[in-house]
């Protein structure tokens, strides 16, 4: 009848769930924040820069830096928007096509169209292009959230629709290859010192994005929707609204990227932006976003954008053929997500 003496253990308090190893979270905290991501980013960036410095003559030149920053603009904006969508557990394949559509329409609207109606003033043309991006985004969002369709399929369909529309609109005889007005070129082609105006726009967008995701109820609910949509719904928050807004932001930023790209290049083809969505998804994923939703950060995404761009730049400076660049990029993305999934499994 006497119970056997089996020692009664005290319930352990929940620890952070990390075993030793190189990236032991307990040793790498600063002000309560987990610094592992930042350290990893720093290491990768330093390695890339050191390699670039020792293997090329042109990396540390002002023109190359300006170049890197300029090229980061498009993917930066696309990735920021893509992050919002990925956080909800979705994906937006149509952003590359929105870039093309916005670029074509921004340029097109500044021209007199065969005397039928007169051109828009430049700011208005740009604003109109961005509004169409928001509209495309909301269409995606409504189809996904309201009609509960799979994001992949929806945006695959809108992708081809928007691409088609781009070709249709660019088919009007207005010579889009002619020089764009000086005013039009300001946002994409001018610099303040060595810093392109466009990169300042990107920086502001990321700062606003951070505030949005971390400091507004709407932004928090977007993160929460991806983590657990049902919990959010039961908390009295509109899931539909959150998702639609995420896609709108994504479409709007893609359109902004298109406008800036048109402004920089001055000459826009309707085939612009093919596969841009893949770089954006890659940057988010490299930055730690989880395609299942609910996980991902502004700073991580920024790091992803920077690393991708440094890599691209390095490969270009080495004179690696464009096709091989794609191969490398693909392999590196696989490597990064493998590392992440391993790290997650250890937790």
């Amino acid at each position: 009848m006497t119970p056997k003496d089996i020692p009664l253990e005290v319930e352990p308090t929940a620890g952070p769930g990390l075993r030793g190893g190189l990236f032991n979270g307990r040793n790498l905290r600063l002000g309560g924040r987990d610094m592992r991501g930042l350290i990893l980013f720093g290491l990768v960036a330093v390695v890339l820069v050191v390699v670039a410095r020792t293997t090329t003559d042109t990396f540390f030149t002002e023109s190359n830096f300006t170049n890197i920053m300029r090229q980061m603009v498009t993917n930066g904006l696309l990735s920021l928007g893509m992050l919002m969508v990925i956080l909800t557990g979705g994906i937006d394949l149509s952003v590359g096509c929105v870039v093309a559509f916005a670029a074509i329409s921004a340029v097109g609207l500044t021209y007199d169209q065969l005397d039928r109606y007169t051109s828009f003033p430049v700011p208005l043309a740009m604003a109109a292009a961005i509004v169409t991006g928001l509209l495309f985004g909301s269409a995606n969002g409504i189809l996904v959230a309201r009609f509960k369709l799979a994001p992949f399929v929806v945006t695959l369909a809108t992708m081809t629709t928007i691409r088609g529309l781009t070709f249709v609109f660019s088919d009007v005889p207005l010579r889009p290859s002619a020089d764009v007005k000086d005013q039009f070129r300001w946002i994409g082609a001018t610099t303040v010192g060595p810093v392109p105006v466009a990169i300042i726009v990107v920086a502001v967008a990321f700062a606003l994005g951070w505030v949005f995701l971390n400091r507004t109820p709407l932004g928090r609910s977007i993160v929460a929707i991806g983590g657990n949509r049902e919990t959010v719904r039961l908390a009295g928050i509109s899931v539909t609204r959150g998702i639609v807004i995420a896609y709108m932001i994504c479409g709007g930023l893609a359109a902004l990227a298109g406008v800036i790209l048109a402004s920089r290049m001055g000459n826009v083809q309707p085939s612009l932006g093919v596969a841009f969505e893949l770089d954006a998804i890659a940057a988010c994923v490299i930055g730690g976003a989880d395609l299942a939703g609910g996980k991902g950060s502004i700073h991580g995404t920024l790091a992803g954008v920077v690393i991708l761009q440094l890599m691209n730049n390095l490969l270009s400076l080495w004179g690696v053929q464009d096709f091989w660049q794609q191969v490398f990029k693909g392999l590196i993305i696989i490597l990064v997500i493998l590392m992440q999934s391993q790290a997650r499994r250890r937790n």
Binding site: L8, E9, E11, A14, G17, N228, G294
Partner: protein, 491 residues
């Protein structure tokens, strides 16, 4: 045949849920494992069946070390498990479910005639008659489904059979049949590991009782030399009447009134009311419609007919948002799927239902979280910025409660608030429910734990297959009576 389990440990995500579990059993024995919700019984079963490989400790079968990496390994060793959650495919027939992967074939095609015959034989042999092998399992009652589940596990004639709360949905003659089956199996040399929290049947059936608490085995008892009171005392670390607060007596007016609410296929014509200061228990088995009812009252599901009154005013808009605006909250039964955003911090979860304004006031949010963490003694105390998944089950549940308390509810619907929660936390939760009720809140406590449904409520409703079966006085009712109503065999 001899099974030995020695100092087994198992952690999930850095939280150790089994710390030192030991157990021995021999062929022909019934070894009962008892313990409160959250004691670690389910994890123990999963370790035994191979579903969760153990972290440390030994598992010996006939003196040989066994390394089970997955359920397949367990099955190969003759270890079969009947889980509490039914694992049958509802659209398939009883035969297909029972003989899955082992359907007899003729000329490369399934021989249906032989298959149905074989299924019938097994059912007859074990004494579960009245089940048609041709029937689709979804057409069967939950009790019959449970029997099919058991029959399925016997097809391969296991050496060790693990039954996880098999009696939770059985009563009367079905329960007798189960007991007879267990005796027959042990007479044939099978080791039956029988998990239950119904102590009476354990005393009747077992050769040996292993007591678990907070993830460890704390005692091994002989049924002949112990009794219910001693077991409860061991499990809870205190006497029964100290677990549940004393019943409340002063009730105000009806805060929640539900009239003739219906959702065909889930529940029909449900009426109930909850008064201020009252804890109304709602007991029902799996499939009785209890959770669906709670979700419908809260607006997460749309009712087909009926009215809901909150604080004397009809509640017309049927959305969670509308319910929250009228200060009714629902603690759902599955905190992982519907209660928490596991990847977000404790703070973010606490403020989730009360976020306002264009910009969040972070200092205020942190203060709210800190206050709730202290009030509900959520552990560890510095968890505000940690993702919720790092917390133990009991503490996660407190975070869910904290979130809903933030909306200052007048009516609180609690759906299985103590599921998978350790004893200490359960007692905390009962105390909190008590003090909320005493402060004038109306509480509907849904539970499939009989002891809890009776012990913690002032009035007890029983649901059966989507209808309200009884309203009972918990002060004078027995567990057997409540169960009988819930199954439809009141005597």
């Amino acid at each position: 045949m001899k099974l030995e389990l020695e100092s087994v440990r198992k952690s999930f995500g850095g939280v150790e849920v089994l710390h030192g579990v030991s157990l021995t059993g021999e062929g022909g024995q019934v070894v009962a494992v008892v313990g409160a919700n959250g004691a670690g019984k389910s994890t123990l079963i999963k370790v035994l069946s191979g579903a969760h490989p153990l972290d440390s400790g030994t598992l010996l079968l006939n003196g040989e070390r066994l390394a089970l990496r997955n359920p397949r390994d367990g099955i190969v060793q003759g270890i079969r498990t009947v889980y509490q959650e039914l694992s049958l495919v509802p659209e398939l027939t009883v035969t297909e479910n029972m003989l899955m992967g082992e359907l007899p074939k003729k000329a490369g095609l399934i021989d249906w005639k032989a298959a149905h015959q074989r299924a019938q034989e097994i059912l007859d042999q074990i004494g579960f008659s009245g089940i048609d092998p041709h029937a689709k399992t979804r057409q069967l009652s939950v009790a019959k489904q449970q029997m099919v589940e058991i029959a399925k596990s016997l097809v391969a004639e296991p050496r060790i059979l693990i039954l996880d709360e098999p009696s939770a949905v059985l009563a009367g003659s079905d329960l007798d049949a189960l007991f007879a089956l267990v005796r027959k199996l042990t007479a044939g040399g099978t080791l039956v590991i029988y998990i239950s929290h119904r102590l009476v049947e354990v005393l009747e059936l077992a050769d040996k009782i292993i007591m678990m608490k907070d993830g460890a085995t704390i005692a091994e008892l002989e049924p002949a030399k112990t009794n219910e009171d001693e077991m409860i005392h061991l499990m809870a670390g205190r006497k029964v009447d100290q677990i549940y607060p004393t019943r409340r007596e002063d009730f105000g007016q009806a805060l929640l009134r539900v009239d003739h609410l219906a959702r065909p296929g889930e529940f029909e014509d449900i009426s109930l009311q909850v008064r201020a200061g009252e804890v109304v228990g709602l007991f029902g088995l799996v499939g009785s419609g209890r959770s669906e009812l709670a979700e419908t009252v809260f607006g997460a599901r749309r009712p087909v007919g009926g009215q809901i009154n909150l604080g004397g005013q009809p509640l017309r808009a049927r959305t969670p948002k509308a319910a929250l605006r009228r200060r009714m909250a629902l603690v759902t039964e599955d905190r992982g799927h519907t209660g928490l955003v596991l990847g977000m911090s404790v703070r973010d979860n606490v403020i989730l239902a009360t976020m306002k304004g264009p910009l969040l006031r972070m200092r205020r949010a942190s203060a709210r979280a800190a206050q709730r963490i202290e009030q509900l003694s959520i552990k560890p105390a510095d968890c505000a910025a940690r993702p919720v998944w790092q917390l133990s089950g009991g503490n996660q549940q407190k975070v869910v409660l904290a979130k809903w308390l933030e909306v200052a509810p007048q009516v609180l619907l609690l759906d299985e608030p103590t599921r998978g929660v350790d004893m200490a936390t359960r007692i905390d939760i009962y105390r909190m429910v008590d003090s909320l009720a005493r402060s004038g809140m109306g509480i509907l406590l849904i539970s499939s734990d009989l002891t809890e449904a009776i012990g913690a409520s002032d009035r007890l409703l029983v649901m059966r297959e989507g209808t309200m079966a009884a309203e009972l006085d918990p002060a004078s009712v027995t567990e057997e009576e409540v169960l009988a109503y819930s199954i439809g065999t009141p005597t």
